[in-house]
Subunit: 275 residues, 2 copies
């Protein structure tokens, strides 16, 4: 574990750390906001998963989350969105390979060695932050944006023992039915579509349910809403399984971090109440 | 005037506009946050001047100002920090030429045609925003960071009829005495140091005073504090002239936007009370 940077922000510090990852066979970077904690108390923790093209930096720099994490004494962790580096295979498209890990474990070559972001988040990152920071293992929540909203929903639904609360901004709710997901899943997981359902939040909620409630914010002017996000499909699946979903359609808002910054306070409040 | 982008943010929109500038003889870009204003009321306006290497984007994306501008119905304008483009002379150093206009009117070649950011802000931008947006000409304030803090202080002190309030983060307070300023002023203004005083806030406050109060926030862990910023020199000059300066030294904070985001609420409140 190597500390890359540290900046004081509100009543805490935002740090960036790098480490060698077993899950992704490369060096990974994540950022962590640590509220002042002179007693070293175990703290509520929210892991944030970012969207296509993002690194650990976007949420740290653009969301304004520190103001509310500081108020609630909540640790915030944001990993990178994929393995990276010269030794990691890549693709010229913005929506596949580096910057687009889709929070799954790839089975197809040449991706299978590195593109295991599911394993990275669920096993490696959760353990790492518990070992090195005052993360309360019983109070970890999950949220994210777009591809990271897909990651938050699918990972939480499959791991309710680890993640006690989940929310999302503009999530890719039904990746098996939309172009981003079909493209990525074909290349990461192969052409056998039955293997895709394990990373589709609509399929997962139908199969496994979710015992608590879920908050989703979605901009009505989001340029990807109609073709890529499909919140109505997730709402239908939740309805079928009697899962309590609050889906807020926000007039005028698009897919950008300006949307996230506007409503991040609500999500931090929401997780804080549940953790 | 060409609208480049628009994003909804809190209760308003953040827009980016481009236009041909007479002052800088090139296309200039600025961003403007417009709180919802269905009646078209004239609104308080804060112009924000950014620091070295910045464009109009940094403050828009990283400061979190929209939350408070929205609360106070305050328009926020942030121009670029210099003329730009293939036809504008440049320099490989980060602290000179494009991205480093220092809010002065250059007199030396090859800079004099384009590097007139003082004229751009005071004459062109102020007129432009009054013509196109509901800016209240009697309620315009000025703030900025680092090189932009220098810009805010010097421009306000020289133009108290236009700018009714002024604050700064980590301003370059005494550019004639420090490396960034000496390098820039020598090349923009020539070796005759007497011409430099017209862009030095310590000299200007001694010469012209300031009838109102001034707020400055400065991080104690700022990596440029000792060599480049000199807030103590400005405090001394204010003291000599009985100018009311609130200089807040903030423990643990550095020169970054994490510092600005932490205290921007205080500055927006402060300007709102005075405008």
């Amino acid at each position: 574990m190597e500390k890359v940077s540290s900046n004081r922000s509100f009543k805490g510090v935002h740090e960036v750390w790098a480490h060698d990852s077993n899950a992704t066979s490369c060096k990974m970077t994540f950022s962590i906001y640590l509220p002042d904690n002179p007693q070293g108390d175990k703290q509520k923790t929210l892991i944030w998963l970012s969207g296509l093209t993002c690194t650990e930096e976007n949420f740290r720099v653009k969301s304004g989350v520190q103001r509310f994490a500081s108020d609630h004494n909540m640790i915030i962790v944001s990993p990178d969105t994929s393995p990276r580096g010269e030794n990691v295979p890549d693709d010229p498209n913005y929506d596949f390979a580096q910057g687009a890990g889709f929070y799954l474990n790839a089975t197809e070559e040449p991706w299978a060695e590195n593109f295991n972001m599911y394993k990275y988040v669920v096993e490696e990152l959760v353990e790492l932050i518990q070992d090195h920071f005052p993360v309360d293992e019983n109070r970890i929540g999950l949220s994210g944006h777009s591809m990271g909203g897909h990651g938050a929903l699918t990972i939480a639904i499959k791991n309710p023992d680890i993640f006690k609360s989940v929310s999302a901004f503009s999530p890719i709710c039904n990746p098996v039915k939309i172009p981003w997901g079909q493209k990525a899943f074909t290349r990461y997981l192969g052409k056998e579509e039955s293997s895709w359902d394990d990373y589709d939040s609509c399929s997962l909620i139908r199969k496994q349910g979710w015992q608590k409630d879920i908050l989703i914010d979605q901009g009505e002017e989001d340029e990807f809403l109609a073709d890529q996000l499909k919140p109505e499909s997730f709402a239908k699946a939740c309805d079928e399984k009697n899962v309590s979903l609050t889906l807020r359609m926000q007039p005028g808002f698009d897919h950008s971090y300006f949307f996230i910054a506007t409503f991040i306070q609500d999500h931090i409040d929401w997780h804080s109440q549940r953790l």
